[in-house]
Amino acid sequence: MSGAEPIPTIGMEVHLHLATHTKMFCACAVEYDAPPNSRVCPVCLGMPGVLPVMNRKAVELAIRMALALNGTIPDFAKWDRKHYYYPDLPKNYQISEYDQPLGVGGYLDVPLDGETFRVGITRVHLEEDAGKLMHPEDGACSVVDLNRTGTPLLEVVSEPDIHSAEQARAYGETLRQLAVYLAVGDCNMQLGQMRFEPNISLQIGTDEKGRPRFTPISEIKNLNSFRSVERAVAFEIARHRQEYEDDPDGYTLERLGKSTRGWLDDREETFLQRSKEEANDYRYFPEPDLVPVVPDRKWVDTIRAGLPELPEHRRRRFIKEYGLPQYDAGVLTADREVADFYEEYVRSAANTDAKTAANWMMQDVMRILNERKVAIAEIRIGPGDVAEVSDMVVTGTINRSTGSDVFAKMLESGKSAAEIVEEENLAQTSDESELKAVVDRVIAENPGPAEDFRGGKERALGRLIGQAMRATGGKANPKVVREILVRKLRG
């Protein structure tokens, strides 16, 4: 055994609800706010005699995700039954894919702090979700809502390529971004549409034959926020370190195997749910009620051809092609529609450069989206409209702050920038003779700052420019005002 620093070794299973209208094996609607047990039928209730029928759209979305994760789609995938008894699982088995999943292999490049790390993907498979068991306060009995039963669930299993709590969080976030980008899932965390199950172990040096040794694997079940992923993983890493320090010979994978733990969000700690000895025997066997999935190659090719440019690729391209800083590229590519909007904006702008356009996106367009909590498709102006107003600023027709006001008015009224500038007489003036008079007045009215600037206090100039802008109702071209001021005060 070597005394090297233990290396956190983390793999992650991520479940996400697919963006299908109907359930995995029946025609019931997938709806999250319906009254309890109102989106159910004999099939998802697991009544005697019913049979499942595969939702083709769910398979398509799963293949889409697998391809986007650089995985391969085997010629043959099959369904299996996974057995366990629980009241939220009406058949007492879950239809899943055990040993021949829809997607195999691949990787995801995850950006974190200006760098990227690569996480291998083991497999991507489909299964059905269970219902919700609830325990009302009065404690008289438990109740179950089966609306969620049979909702298509995609499981993405990663290789143990994650090495810190921050990385675990970033992996989850990047995977979510990808799924949303691909329209594979909405991944609304509040609705429980995405759940994480990290497996944590520490590599504790090597044995005498040079093979790596590990602390026992603990799997944390059902984390439903990025914050809880990060904190739970950090907690486990610390706990493993402590346990290992206390008992370096006993606290090993070969002795203790794998255990399952829960996360208490309020107490910020994990607790043991099942040790190795209590592990379930799920008695997997091939689902005889469903035929295997044999994806048509042409279909797979069509799905592949329909993949959009993926966020990480797009982010890098934005840096290269538009010369954007890391930060801007990350913000603008986080949402596919925002990125599309930006690119269309850059294309249609006559005078606005890509970096200036990025500023407009972040300072004006996305600020509005955040304030109103709406998607970019829901606002009434398009990329060409933003290009119009930013071009007016670049060419000096209006100044920057007027530009923001015009943008806000465009959103309200649906009018074009030109109309608003015209109607409200907002066009900025660069006329020297007109502005000289304004400047003279400002110097006269503000002798203090004028004297300060003459005395070498550069900052005083800003105040004088501001006064001139105010005096013109914001229409003065600040560049011209500055030139005149400098000339007058130094001249």
């Binding site: 697991g46 005699g49 058949k91 997997y284 066997f285």
Partner: protein
């Protein structure tokens, strides 16, 4: 001729010709049920009111000259493992579903209704179709109409007995390892197991999903053909039902009387080995001689994996699937829930303990064991491999012969209670029938004579996938040469 002595096809002719009303047909059956069922106990429930109401409606439509479908007004019985939303229970003859009423109709029930059939009742069976004598019913044992001290076979014993005793002209059963053919043989009627995928399983309460198939009982080959016609075909709700584009449903009745010639019949030595009753063997060999007399060529063949291995394989595959399919009966959502339980796990255990019978429990335990970690490869996986070999046996055989014949069951009907304490002997009742389900091919049992004691004997004819049309013609060749269907069990003669 009394109405109940009419076959389904002749009853249909009379109904169409308006020589018989649907109300009269249903009334005759309900009367026969009232008279005979207390002794035979073929029905778990009857729906006299519903049947009469429906018969009246069909009469109106027939009087109006409407096309009411293939079965216009013919009464039919349905095995109690097929869902009906008519208010009758769908119990699978199990205490665990004793008061369960299905909220939907099985595909075959929809088809029967679309074709104008009048469903008069639901028939007894071995609990969840697990058994070969209908003694495993959670409610009562059905009696063989030819000898009330004997079993009707199983698991579709209620349907077989109901048709045999002329309480209904035809009935549906389900066959997982012989559950249509074996009771058909023991009750002296025709019973057909279609190719897996020919008839939708939607609404058939599952026993072993990869083996279960619904099929018809009739007194004649023609009646079986009629009922198959009404129920066969693709159903998008059953992914294992075969699309019409791949396997269109042929007209089973059009050429039924045309002999198949030349006809090569495979006679596997494995179907005439140890355990076969001598009297049954003689009767079956006589039947083969009838075919030979019609010009058929009898060819000795080998089905090396298809008796001993078939039973072992069958009881692993079927119990494994059953252990999974029956997991849902836990007292949580529907069905029997124990009134006395300490906690959730206890509720599961007591509900299942109280709700299931011994044979069902035995099979759930066998299947659970076979699927368990560490045993899966040795049992279930191995069974699937042997299943492939059995299929190959038949594929090879059907390269040489058109069909395979032998006894349906090694013995005629045995006595009530004779095998109930010896499950392994009971399991051997399926020794000639289970391989057909494992190979997913079609099979039929037709009456081919009687023992000295007056018990019927069945001839089993097996043929390749989706060859039911030819299989029925082959069966009909024999039937035309003989007159077994005209014989009624003595119990029927006691009519007033």
């Amino acid at each position: 001729m009394a109405t109940i002595d009419l076959t389904a096809c002749r009853m249909r002719d009379a109904l169409r010709a308006r020589n018989l009303s649907a109300v009269e047909a249903a009334g005759a059956c309900l009367e026969a049920i009232d008279r005979l069922n207390p002794g035979i106990r073929a029905f778990l429930s009857t729906d006299a009111q519903g049947a009469r109401r429906r018969a009246e409606e069909i009469d109106k439509r027939l009087d109006a000259g409407e096309d009411v479908g293939l079965l216009a007004g013919v009464p039919v019985a349905v095995k109690d493992n097929m869902c009906t939303d008519d208010g009758q229970p769908t119990s699978c003859a199990s205490r665990i579903l004793e008061n369960w009423r299905a909220p939907y109709n099985a595909h075959v029930v929809e088809r029967l209704l679309e074709e104008g059939a009048v469903i008069v009742g639901k028939t007894n069976m071995d609990e969840f179709a697990m058994g070969s004598s209908t003694e495993n019913s959670g409610f009562e044992a059905t009696r063989n109409p030819w000898d009330l001290d004997r079993v009707p076979g199983g698991s579709s014993g209620g349907s077989a007995a109901a048709v045999s005793a002329r309480m209904v002209p035809m009935a549906l059963g389900s066959d997982t390892g012989g559950s249509i053919r074996q009771p058909a043989a023991l009750c002296g009627v025709v019973g057909l197991k279609p190719t897996y995928g020919r008839v939708s399983r939607y609404g058939l309460v599952a026993f072993a999903s990869s083996l279960d198939q619904i099929g018809p009982f009739g007194r004649t080959v023609e009646d079986a053909a009629l009922l198959l016609q009404a129920t066969a075909g693709h159903d998008p709700r059953d992914s294992t039902s075969v699309p019409e584009a791949d396997q269109p449903v042929p007209d089973y009745l059009a050429a039924l009387d045309e002999p198949v010639a030349p006809l090569r019949i495979g006679v596997p030595k494995e179907f005439f080995g140890e355990g076969l009753d001598a009297e049954v063997e003689k009767i079956v060999r006589d039947a083969l001689a009838v075919y030979a007399g019609l010009g058929a060529e009898l060819v000795n063949i080998d089905l090396p994996h298809s008796t001993d291995y078939a039973i072992a394989t069958y009881y692993i595959v079927a119990t494994s699937e059953a252990s999974s399919n029956l997991a849902r009966y836990d007292g949580v959502h529907y069905g029997h829930r124990s009134s006395d339980h300490a906690d959730m796990i206890d509720m599961y255990m007591r509900s299942r303990e109280e709700g299931f019978g011994d044979e069902v429990k035995r099979r759930i335990m066998l299947g659970t064991y076979a699927l368990s970690a560490g045993y899966y490869d040795a049992y279930y996986k191995k069974a699937l491999q042997v299943r492939r070999l059995i299929r190959q046996d038949f594929d090879r055989a059907f390269e040489k012969v058109d069909c395979i014949m032998g006894p349906t069951s090694p013995t005629a009907a045995f006595r009530q209670g004779e095998k109930t304490d010896d499950p392994l002997t009971m399991y051997l009742s399926d020794v000639y029938t289970a391989s057909c389900n494992l190979a997913a091919i079609a099979g039929v049992s037709i009456p081919c004579g009687f023992t000295e004691a007056g018990l019927p004997v069945g001839l089993q004819i097996l043929s390749g996938v989706f060859t039911e049309e030819r299989l029925l013609r082959i069966a009909r060749m024999y039937e035309r040469e003989t007159d077994w269907p005209s014989r009624a069990p003595p119990v029927c003669g006691e009519a007033p």
